[in-house]
Symmetry: C2
Subunit: 501 residues, 2 copies
């Protein structure tokens, strides 16, 4: 570690800001998990103050001055150099937003989230619309403040997936539009999979118990985390030593909880794998949301929806639910977990139709930020796109446009990272299989420790040292290649549907 | 409300600091209720940063400058004037501590609390001692920084009960030492009360349910609060609209949960009664810990341990526990709730011996801060004083010197406010009975709404506008008069023990 006093001062500023942001994360977690309803207004104030205090530290003249000097320091090790480089990029970006704007955005985020909760309760988008309109206006303003070359949405994307552009995403989604419908139509023509047993009655506590068993088996450290219930499942980190997941339970739909737990568990393993020494520093933070999502999807899909995984876990599951699963085999369970069928709720979609859910949100967001559509038209636009891409039309707002919390959080530009994450996941997983020749049989024996240590060593430990594209190249020898996902999908669904893809 | 721009700026600074302190309260709540064990270290950092950021705001030159001018402003209403006056006192006090000291104290508080948890688990004071030694050294340093006239402990008392001095407390406790042993010996000579039914098996969930019924009946707004479990029950407020209580449950000791819930409920009603408009301002904060405790004790003792209260609630309780209470009458229950008997655990002590528990802590704290005893001698000193005052000797550390979290929080000077609170409670309650002639029969009918509104109007609404002594005079026409407590005790225990006190 360097003795450079400027580096030490820089680190102190970043870690203080991290303390404030992590405190805000605790307040955010509490808001969605335990806060009583009347607490909302002052909680909004408190979050806004934390955001503005952190912003003040991260945009102060002093930090800029330190970074200007540290860029040319010759006594920093490679990690320290990477931190300085990333911080310089962040600083330049942060300076573009005023403290007032950051506070306003934070206040509006709390208000908007509460409006979304209310609107969901009432199953009525119009209760959410006024608050969302203000949010969209703020995000458009934010894009202008950030500046951009060709599309205002690019400026927002940069917050979640640095470097990605509308031009690239359009290409990725065009691939989806041409390749996935072919796979989908072949699946539709095949003999359908029976997953009706998922909708039997599964008592809440037993579902919870099995989800905890799976989290532990994945290597999630429960001394450094916990699982709670919330409206919408999420993962949040206050430090690598306190990373929390949430889930939701439906007694009449077992699939609702199970993969949400594995998915969030994957996110949580990434956060628990961040180097503690780099707390608050770029090298102690996730590379991008796409990379984050690659970790959750790798666990959820490549592992948790794989035949090998259920080879080990199906007998354990059956011990929890002997009557509900009496007529189900491990192979039948594996097939059911991979049933492909257009449906309304993104988080419960299969791995093929999922990307149409993302595509729909991507198209809506782009148009909203460009000002080509208005908030009041969202329910109609939403239903039109679902009918167009998936051939189904949501019957109400909760099943349609009100299903995700993201817009209430102002997270425009977030959705595309889900699709990027899936594609990165397939690419990483293919290389993990090469690196660990026994991986498939390990998983069939319920052993994922070696995989986790491969992920820790090749991905987690780097934090934000590399961009997602650099990291992908480092780990796999090439940039994002959608061929991996298509290969993975063809192989899996050939097995599930006994067809030739 | 004033248009004075300086007042607005002053209010903004105070409210920002309140946001940071309330965020710290959320982190503190989480730390004791839900945080996984490995989260402790970084949580300590985060709390320290929040404390130092708030301290920075509250000791900044700008605030001092604003207060200097606002002291002479002639366009402020009485509430605004009171805020400025209290803030000026606070500012002068806050400026005496350096930012480094505040941060060090906050870090040490987290470390010390965790050491206390560990030591309790191991039932071994020596695991707590090194951390507590550092804490005592910091508190002695703090007393020096605050300055004082006659006793260093005075400087620490001021944080919890502004204006109170060792000289006054010595008088109060001398009263206890002379009067209470007389009452205690008469009770000892009387026919003893049977409370053995408290130690039957009371299922956790049913205890919890009844405690929620009582909280609701007291007027605690569950839309603006919640109850959780923790090692040591406490109340915490993040705003008047989010005030939380915790409790603990022992299935073999019903008394453990019941009065802790009513006690914390009394604290919570005070916090929920703070004027929202004065969020973050002195007039939106509790007058003192003694006054805070007067509210919890009034509910716990004057009401919750009264015959009238159980006239209404005993039948409800019996519905929850028909078998456990089959041989118990309402009057028998009332008597059992007021059984007097020297015991080891302060929070479970009766209303008479309780004050010896406080006296013992008071004597130890004074001596520690004066440097007359050392941390390593505490277990021996503790046991010696218990033997002297209560005639009983704790068998181990958990039953003795490790029972309270207070010292781990650095809260030296806090304990005496418990006794002050009891005495204020009796005095306030006597005046509430005068002001509401139907109060006894209201309570016997399960109605406490009028009492709550009397407390709101006469005590809660004022916040810190008055010192505790001024407030007492305003509400009751006289300063603290221990005669009220002695009258209350003589009346109650004459009834409980059928003796003439």
């Amino acid at each position: 570690m360097t003795n450079n006093p400027l580096y030490k001062e820089y680190k102190q500023i970043l870690q203080k800001a991290a303390d404030l942001n992590n405190a805000a994360a605790v307040l955010g977690w509490d808001q969605e998990v335990y806060m009583p309803p009347k607490g909302a207004y002052f909680r909004g104030r408190q979050l806004a103050t934390l955001a503005s205090q952190a912003h003040e530290l991260l945009t102060g003249e002093r930090l800029g001055h330190l970074l200007d000097q540290l860029k040319f320091a010759n006594d920093l090790n490679p990690t320290e150099q990477a931190n300085v480089l990333r911080s310089f990029e962040d600083y330049s970006k942060n300076r573009k937003l005023s403290a007032e704007f950051v506070e306003e955005l934070s206040m509006q985020t709390s208000a908007c989230f509460n409006a979304w909760i209310e609107a969901r309760r009432a199953n009525d988008f119009s209760k959410f619309a006024p608050s969302l309109e203000k949010m969209v206006a703020l995000k458009r303003k934010q894009a202008e403040m950030y500046q951009y070359e060709s599309h205002p949405y690019d400026a927002l994307l940069d917050e979640y997936e640095p470097g990605i552009r509308v031009a690239t995403l359009d290409q990725v989604f065009n691939g989806i539009k041409t390749e996935l419908p072919v796979i989908l139509s072949k699946i539709k023509a095949a003999k359908q999979v029976d997953d009706s047993f998922f909708y039997r009655h599964y008592p809440k506590q037993l579902q919870w118990d099995f989800s905890m068993t799976v989290l532990k088996a994945m290597g999630y450290d429960l001394e450094a985390g916990r699982q709670d219930l919330s409206e919408h499942p999420f993962t949040t980190s206050f430090a690598p030593t306190d990373v929390r997941v949430t889930t939701r339970v439906s007694e009449d739909n077992y699939a609702s909880l199970l993969w949400s737990t594995i998915h969030e568990g994957g996110h949580a393993l990434y956060e628990q794998g961040m180097p503690e020494d780099e707390y608050g520093m770029p090298c102690g933070a996730a590379a991008s949301l796409g990379i984050h999502e690659s970790q959750s999807r790798l666990w959820e899909n490549c592992i948790g929806r794989g035949a090998d995984f259920w080879n080990h876990f199906f007998p354990v599951l059956k011990e929890h639910f002997p009557s509900q699963l009496s007529d189900v085999t491990a192979n039948g369970f594996f097939k059911a977990t991979n049933k492909v069928e257009p449906s309304f709720i993104r988080t419960e979609a299969d791995e093929i139709t999922y990307h149409f859910h993302v595509l729909i949100r991507y198209e809506i967001e782009k148009a909203l930020i460009e000002g080509k559509i208005e908030v009041k038209d969202l329910p109609a636009k939403w239903n039109e796109l679902y009918t167009h891409y998936l051939g189904i039309t949501p019957a109400d707002d909760v099943t349609g446009v009100l299903q995700d919390a993201h817009w209430s959080h102002g997270s425009f530009g977030y959705f595309p990272t889900y699709t990027l994450g899936s594609f990165y996941a397939s690419q990483f997983y293919a290389h993990a299989q090469k690196a660990i020749p026994t991986l498939d049989s390990d998983i069939a024996a319920g052993q994922t420790a070696e995989l986790l240590s491969w992920l820790r060593k090749n991905i987690h430990v780097h934090g934000r040292r590399y961009t997602s594209e650099e990291l992908c190249e480092l780990v796999t020898g090439e940039r994002l290649n959608t061929g991996y996902f298509l290969n993975y999908a063809r192989k899996k669904y050939s097995a599930v549907y006994n067809i030739d893809l």
